[in-house]
């Protein structure tokens, strides 16, 4: 089954919250909880949207984003990415992302962003 959204997030409670919010909108949401293996998870799932936490164990969100954009597969490389960050000051690290959301976020904002990106 094709995923609408793959979320890479190590904080289980945040992951659960996001998944709950987006699932209620009817999207299929998958989860990967480590920086390591992040790009492989995306390659395997081929989601229409990636929600990426910036601070991940083992491999940062920025690195995974770079991996993705450098992928051979042009379709894969152009997958839209919504970056989640808990640190406002590392904006530039996420500049290659299509959109960004700062934790904590408003649930309505999250829904609006995802809807816009999947449209």
């Amino acid at each position: 089954m094709q995923l609408d959204i793959l979320m890479i997030e190590d904080e289980p409670n945040i992951a659960e919250a996001v998944r709950f919010i987006l699932s209620r909108e009817g999207w299929q949401v998958g989860l990967h909880d480590d920086g390591a293996g992040g790009i492989e998870a995306i390659r395997e799932a081929r989601p229409r949207l990636v929600i990426l936490d910036l601070m991940l164990p083992n491999r940062s969100g920025a690195e995974i984003l770079a991996d993705l954009r450098a992928a051979d597969d042009a379709a894969l490389a152009s997958t839209p990415v919504l970056m989640l960050t808990a640190r406002g000051q590392v904006r530039e690290a996420a500049s290659a992302a299509d959109a960004m959301l700062t934790k904590p976020f408003d649930n309505a904002d999250l829904r609006a962003q995802v809807r816009r990106m999947l449209a």
């Binding site: 919250a17 996001v18 000051q89 649930n107």
Partner: protein, 888 residues
């Protein structure tokens, strides 16, 4: 050869010399001095050392005394090869001070004393007069040789006047080319060039004759050597050919002194030297010239004795030998060579002696008699000095001619060369001492030169002119040698003795420093302030140099100081230069006295000198102070830079820390916010509501813990933590810690390995803080130990010197060696999916607590699992000595 032809040749030769000198002077005036300044020209001019006395006399000397004539060449050769550094020093110092003569050198060194210069001038006049007479005689004798050989055999009328004509001609030449101007440096390009040409003629003539003797008269070198060895056993030679070492030593010493002190030698060697560099070439070329000149002396002497009648004068062998062989052209060449030797010596000697006489006798007297009216523009002094020189030249020539006429005979003049040498050698101790010894002073110079003068007059000069007898000496000792040694030794002793006991005056000290160290002298700063004195100084310089050159010099100096107009500031360095330039024209003593008089300066006193020294010292101290201040500034700047680096690093750390805190706060906040919003949705199941409320509660607790930890850390790090010190039993603390930690991952069944009897150890510490550390470490073990059957080992032992050591070891995989260094840092939480909401501050807090308690906590590698060692001191540092004081 007809006498008229000889006369014509002679006049033609003289005309050539006039032309060369004139052309060289013109070229120099136009600034074309390149070839005139060539070191070879300089070297050739040094050959003025070979006067007629050596040109004719050496052969006579050799025929009477064998190889002894060589000493006259050995002395200068030794100076040029063995003491070249001394020569360089002499030339450098003399150029620096614009020294005009040997008398001026001594005077300048010993406090610019004119009296000293006047005494040296006296020696020079006494020694030079008969020496010049000797030259005139040699010319007359050589004329006679030709006249007697003339076909008609008649001596032309007026031949007796030859000396007069020669003296008059040379006087004209010398005045024309020796007193053309009053340059700042007493150089005479015309004279020097003419002399260099004459040196070539001299050498050519002598070598030609030598070649003729060896290959024309003898049958080559081997035959010549044969003849020489036969001649040395000739009974007529007698004791003359024996080598007398003491006499040789004295002769070499005296001729070495002569190359430095004879007025004409000082003139060409030092005064005419543009710089010391030309001594490089002269250093080998001049000894080579001397060698060439001496090489054929012995063959000519031996051949003359063989071929010429016994009554022939050996001093004229050089001329009579070729004449008797009918070699008219060769004889004429030799005649010109001898003529060159005589005339060059007379010309240079006259210039040198006349400079001394005018600078040290006539000008001071004239200045003393005439008060210079200030502001007078006439160059009267320049005119007077030039005229004084002309008169002095005429007087020197006249004296030589009169002496020649009065003495008449050959015998009285023959020894005059050596007499002159020994006379001027009396200046040597003061000269060498002045250059090498700062302690040498004027009194020493007076006494040394005075002693030398008196002894030389009494023991050498007067006996040589037939007044008084030789020094009475023991048999076997040479009276002349004894007299020379006695005069020189007593001279030197007087010089050294009086220098040691005397006290040099301030000017002497400054000059002595400049001479001995070969550094630029600086005129003391006592002189005038303000411009009003520059005008009279300019007027004075005009008197000496003429209006235009003086004005040009003053303008150049003013421009160098950055001033417009023609009156420079009277800085010490300007006055020093002005005085030295004037000294180059009128001698240092007179220049010094004139500047003093015009500038109205008072005599330099010891107080002035001390002031100079003080100023130098002050400048030095100021420099040192500035140096120290600069070093201090550098140090401060470095400290500031280091502090700045530290602050920058701290700032970066602080930013990173705030970033971490922001992240750690935002993460639980995100869950709380998201779920609380979700909870507002009325469609949630009851189960979902319960679960989400639980998450919110847990995340809120995590936030609280984080804030507690941060506060705790902040208090501990600032050193403001309040400790309640008391006695605690480690066994009880460990038990409580295990119990508190068991809430973490209770599903893990840990086997606890304790050694109970050793745990009963009393420690003086803050029990609650120590418990906090123990709980943290044990909780970490519970969280992270990944063994299937986890075991926690706790061991306690007393520490040497009081306190305790507690090891907490689990059997998990431990911590990578690369990360062991990081675990005690803030937010160093290792990435571990199993962690339970820690913010990564736990071990950082443990470390701070242990530091506060005076102990430490460290990771123990190589224990098979994660292992921590807690070290407790006997008591916390800086606490109440009772150890039991309890803070509230």
């Amino acid at each position: 050869m007809p006498f008229e032809a000889l006369l014509a040749t002679c006049l033609g030769y003289v005309a050539l010399m006039f032309t060369v000198a004139y052309a060289a002077d013109r070229a120099a005036a136009r600034g074309h001095v390149r070839w005139l300044d060539h070191p070879l020209v300089y070297t050739l001019s040094l050959s003025v050392y070979c006067s007629a006395w050596t040109f004719y006399g050496a052969v006579g000397y050799a025929s009477r005394s064998g190889l002894e004539f060589l000493t006259i060449y050995l002395g200068p050769t030794l100076v040029f090869t063995g003491a070249w550094w001394g020569l360089r020093r002499l030339v450098r110092v003399a150029r620096m001070h614009h020294v005009t003569s040997v008398a001026d050198l001594v005077s300048a060194r010993f406090g610019k004393s004119n009296k000293l210069a006047a005494i040296v001038t006296l020696i020079a006049v006494i020694a030079s007069t008969p020496y010049i007479a000797l030259q005139l005689q040699s010319v007359r004798l050589s004329f006679e040789v030709f006249a007697l050989n003339a076909p008609n055999g008649a001596v032309p009328d007026g031949l007796g006047g030859t000396g007069l004509w020669v003296a008059a001609g040379l006087a004209v030449f010398t005045i024309l080319f020796g007193t053309r101007n009053l340059a700042a440096d007493e150089r005479h390009h015309g004279v020097v060039t003419a002399i260099a040409l004459e040196a070539v003629v001299k050498l050519l003539a002598f070598v030609a004759l030598g070649v003729f003797v060896i290959w024309g008269l003898a049958e080559g070198p081997l035959d010549m050597l044969d003849r020489i060895s036969r001649a040395s056993t000739d009974p007529r030679v007698g004791e003359g050919w024996l080598l007398k070492s003491d006499r040789w030593t004295a002769l070499i010493l005296v001729s070495a002194a002569a190359i430095l002190t004879l007025p004409r030698m000082f003139q060409v060697l030092v005064v005419e030297a543009a710089d010391e560099e030309r001594l490089h070439v002269a250093g080998w070329a001049f000894p080579a010239y001397l060698f060439a000149m001496s090489f054929f002396v012995l063959p000519i002497a031996v051949m003359g004795r063989e071929l010429l009648p016994d009554d022939a004068n050996p001093d004229l062998y050089v001329l009579t030998l070729p004449a008797a062989q009918g070699q008219d052209v060769l004889a004429l060449l030799v005649f010109l060579g001898g003529f060159s030797a005589a005339t060059s010596m007379v010309v240079v000697c006259a210039i040198a002696v006349a400079t001394m006489v005018s600078n040290h006798w006539l000008v001071p007297v004239w200045l003393a008699l005439r008060r210079i009216p200030a502001g007078d523009d006439a160059d009267d002094l320049r005119g007077f000095v030039l005229n004084a020189r002309r008169v002095a030249i005429l007087a020197v020539m006249a004296a030589g001619w009169v002496y020649h006429e009065a003495s008449g005979g050959t015998a009285a003049l023959a020894s005059m060369g050596l007499v002159a040498f020994t006379g001027m050698a009396q200046v040597l101790p003061a000269m060498v001492g002045g250059l090498m010894w700062r302690g040498a002073n004027r009194k020493g110079a007076y006494c040394g030169i005075g002693t030398g003068l008196v002894l030389w007059m009494a023991l050498i000069f007067l006996p040589s002119v037939g007044i008084g007898g030789d020094l009475p000496v023991p048999r076997g000792m040479d009276p002349w040698t004894a007299a020379v040694m006695l005069s020189l030794v007593l001279n030197t002793l007087a010089f050294i003795g009086m220098s040691i006991f005397g006290f040099p005056d301030p000017v002497e000290r400054l000059q002595g420093l400049s001479f001995v160290s070969a550094v630029e002298p600086i005129r003391h700063s006592r002189m005038m302030r303000g411009d009003d004195r520059a005008e009279p100084l300019l007027a004075m310089a005009r008197r000496v140099w003429g209006a235009d050159p003086a004005l040009r010099y003053f303008q150049a100096e003013a421009r160098a100081q950055g001033k417009s107009g023609y009156l420079p500031d009277l800085t010490p360095s300007f006055l020093t230069r002005l005085e030295r330039r004037l000294a180059g024209s009128i001698g240092s003593a007179t220049a010094h006295a004139m500047i003093d008089r015009v500038a109205g300066g008072v005599a330099l006193t010891v107080a002035d000198l001390l002031q100079v020294a003080d100023e130098a010292q002050r400048a030095k101290e100021e420099t040192q102070r500035l140096e120290a201040a600069r070093a201090e500034l550098t140090r401060t700047a470095r400290q500031l830079r280091e502090a700045n680096d530290k602050l920058t690093a701290l700032s970066v750390q602080k930013d990173a820390f705030l970033g971490q805190i922001s992240h750690e706060l935002r993460t639980p906040m995100t869950s709380v916010r998201a779920f609380s919003e979700i909870l507002k949705n009325p469609t949630l199941t009851e189960e979902e509501r319960g679960r989400f409320a639980g998450i919110i509660h847990a995340e809120a607790a995590r936030l609280t813990r984080l804030l507690d930890d941060l506060l705790d850390l902040s208090v501990l790090e600032s050193g403001r933590a309040q400790l309640s010190i008391g006695v605690a039993n480690l066994h009880d603390l460990i038990t409580r810690a295990l119990s508190a930690a068991s809430a973490t991952r209770p599903e893990r069944g840990f086997l606890i390995d304790r050694d109970l009897p050793t745990e009963h150890l009393g420690v003086i510490t803050d029990a609650d803080r120590l418990l906090q550390v123990l709980i943290n470490v044990i909780t970490n073990a519970r969280k992270y130990c990944d063994a299937e059957h986890p075991v926690l080992t706790i061991r306690v032992r007393p520490r040497d010197g009081g306190g305790a050591i507690i090891d907490v070891i689990d059997n998990g995989s431990g911590i990578d060696s690369g990360r062991q260094a990081l675990i005690f840092q803030k937010f160093a939480r290792l990435n571990d999916p199993a962690r339970a909401g820690g913010a990564g501050l736990g071990l950082a807090i443990c470390r701070e607590i242990m530091v506060t308690l005076g102990g430490e906590i460290s990771y123990l590698p190589g224990q098979g699992g994660a292992a921590f060692r807690i070290i407790l001191p006997a008591r916390p540092p800086g606490r109440a000595p009772t150890g039991i004081a309890v803070a509230d």
